[in-house]
Amino acid sequence: MMPNRLDHTFAALADPTRRAILARLATGEATVTELAQPFDISLPAISRHLKVLERAGLIARGREAQWRPRSLQAEPLKEAVDWLQQYREFWEQSLDRLEAHMAEVKKR
């Protein structure tokens, strides 16, 4: 796993507007205007959010210059999901062992 990419992924996800944009793109590609529509913010503000998501590799631009639909890129998100799952297992198994250890401590 690439730690720097993970940092970018989590930083990109740390904003409600960007998460909403990703959720919209999970249903299919969309233009900038379509992505901006649900939000009460300017198109330049949306463009800044899209740039953050692009830098994190979470979205890609279409090739048609006029239309340029954005689409979701799943690979960095998969790494983030894997990261989360890996830690959940790390702690669950540590706590299993802690419980066994506490049973030993109480016997003394």
Partner: protein, 147 residues
């Protein structure tokens, strides 16, 4: 949004009094006995238990691979809470994604409710969000990606 929505949360009711559970998290001799996934052995455990104090662990996996991690204690509030930063260390000494882990111990009769939160963010960006947390967001994307 509560902190819980933003963070990975693992909770467990431990059948032991709070003082003992807190000790098990702060006494290096005890930590070395249970820390890490099943089959892992802690072969080095350096803990400077005080706010600002550093720790460094080396765990050996069942396959014989060593895993190093290090961090700094941010809070030591006996017997209620400890908080520490957490990052894996690569063989060349570079650190991976740093997170903050907060463990709280609540007495429930003669047992202890242990709640562990791990935050993935190094900034407070988006703290005013009341819609969805990033863990539920990732869970939904996890479903999306396996469709």
């Amino acid at each position: 949004m509560s902190v819980a929505d933003r963070d990975l949360v693992v909770s467990r009711l431990i059948d032991a009094p709070r003082d003992l559970v807190f000790q098990a998290w702060t006494d290096p001799g005890q930590v070395a006995r249970w820390w890490g996934p099943k089959g892992f052995v802690t072969i080095a455990c350096d803990m400077d238990i005080r706010p600002g104090g550093a720790y460094w662990f080396v765990m050996r996996s069942p396959e014989g691979t060593d895993h190093r991690k290090r961090g700094v204690y941010r809070e030591i509030v006996a017997p209620e809470r400890i908080a520490f930063t957490f990052a894996w260390e690569a063989a060349d000494g570079t650190l991976g994604h740093e997170t903050l882990v907060t463990v709280t111990f609540d007495a429930v009769d003669d047992k202890t409710r242990l709640t562990l939160r791990q935050g993935a963010f190094d900034s407070v960006a988006g703290r005013d969000d009341h819609v969805i947390g990033w863990t539920s967001c990732l869970e939904r994307f996890g479903n999306y990606m396996t469709q």
